[in-house]
Symmetry: C2
Subunit: 243 residues, 2 copies
């Protein structure tokens, strides 16, 4: 891809969430920023400038593919960030990215958030310098990327109550305990186990498989899966997901 095909004033930034070992993770890229005090390690969200022959969704897919090696990842455009000083809040960060030659003084960025299954079925291969960070430990992000992350989380919290997107973070087959726990960590709110399961069991599109957990030091849980077809049938009547 040639340099000239880049739209200089528009970029797409991706907030890629994953659920791993009971924690909500976000994908960040390590960057080493030279400052007066020496080289500082900072993080940024993955992103790219939009190309002239791309829709914003294409730029987002390209970024996801580039960072994780995965295609067909769930993504949702949630907000735009256009503050005049968004790249210039910190002089060191700005001169660093300016020196990388990729950037115009004024870049409006379109925020996408993505949900990705870490285990199955697609293999995830992070590129060099990309890493998963716990969402609540991702503070030292450059530019306005912390704002973007917070806005993504806020949108995710709304969307997950209205649409069945939470399953994008879980393996194909999961336990109700995992499902409940994932709700709890994203919403930062505890649910009563029995009430949660009663509500869930009213959802016809959550179907029990004949498989059980293995190798756990407690009573193994039955595995469930999300049935998209059943969901599409039922949502017409039920209007939406609504947990």
């Amino acid at each position: 891809m040639v340099q000239s095909s880049i739209i200089p004033n528009i970029s797409v930034d991706c907030v890629i969430f994953a659920y791993d070992k009971g924690l909500l993770k976000v994908l960040v890229r390590k960057e080493f920023i030279p400052t007066a005090k020496g080289v500082e390690l900072r993080y940024k969200l993955p992103g790219n400038h939009m190309l002239f022959n791309e829709r914003m969704e294409d730029t987002a897919s390209r970024t996801l593919l580039e960072q994780t090696g995965a295609r067909d990842i769930f993504m949702s455009q949630f907000s735009v960030f256009s503050d005049l000083d968004r790249l210039m809040r910190n002089a060191d960060e700005y001169s660093w990215i300016k020196n990388n030659g990729l950037i115009h003084e004024r870049v409006v960025t379109i925020g996408f958030y993505s949900l990705i299954k870490l285990n199955q079925p697609k293999k995830i291969k992070l590129i060099d310098r990309a890493e998963w960070k716990n969402v609540d430990e991702a503070f030292d992000l450059i530019f306005d990327h912390k704002d973007i992350l917070n806005a993504a989380l806020k949108q995710l919290r709304i969307d997950m109550l209205l649409h069945p997107i939470i399953f994008e973070l879980l393996p194909q087959k999961f336990t109700l305990g995992q499902l409940q726990h994932l709700f709890e960590i994203i919403l930062d709110q505890k649910f009563d186990k029995r009430n949660f399961r009663r509500k869930i069991s009213g959802m016809k599109f959550l179907v029990a498989t004949e498989e059980w957990q293995e190798g756990v030091a407690h009573k193994p849980a039955q595995l469930y899966r999300f049935d998209k077809r059943l969901y599409n049938k039922h949502k017409k009547e039920n209007f939406e997901f609504i947990i």
Copy 2:
């Protein structure tokens, strides 16, 4: 403002809603497009290219001010439109806007929707060629503006259930009948009058004034107002609006 300060690839389009005589209106601009068959009357949403020294909200405010003469109008950024052919789906429309000299081949537009009080308290003065159209009669919009309008409506329907924004469309003092009717026409759904009023009366931030409707050919209704302070107090406990 000089031409050179325009960012050529980014625009903001505004879907401005209003409630008038029991109908939901949207502001459109008349455009006369020369075609092989003669001059055709088409409509477009108001919008502007972003300037280099503007945030997207500034571009939106500028557009609102320019079209209606009003400031401090409620607005909300809801989506971005970046399809490659979004300005070129129709050759006549494209050559018309290209001849107006304002446009680059590739423009990504940021969609805002606005809610505006037609009667009070600010005086609305539409500029030439702007007019209110019933939302369900706004079909012949150019470019992808019909898509933008539909997306705005969809977002409005979600937002109005979660946040107390519906009052932005009503006069400062309104009847419960108006409020219910406005819900009904936006959501395209009927509500039971008694149940609606019971629910409403649980909302402490909707306060009855000591004024009544005048000049109506039926029993005059009591006027209510939305109290933002009370809302801000109560929402902490109640989490949100949620109708």
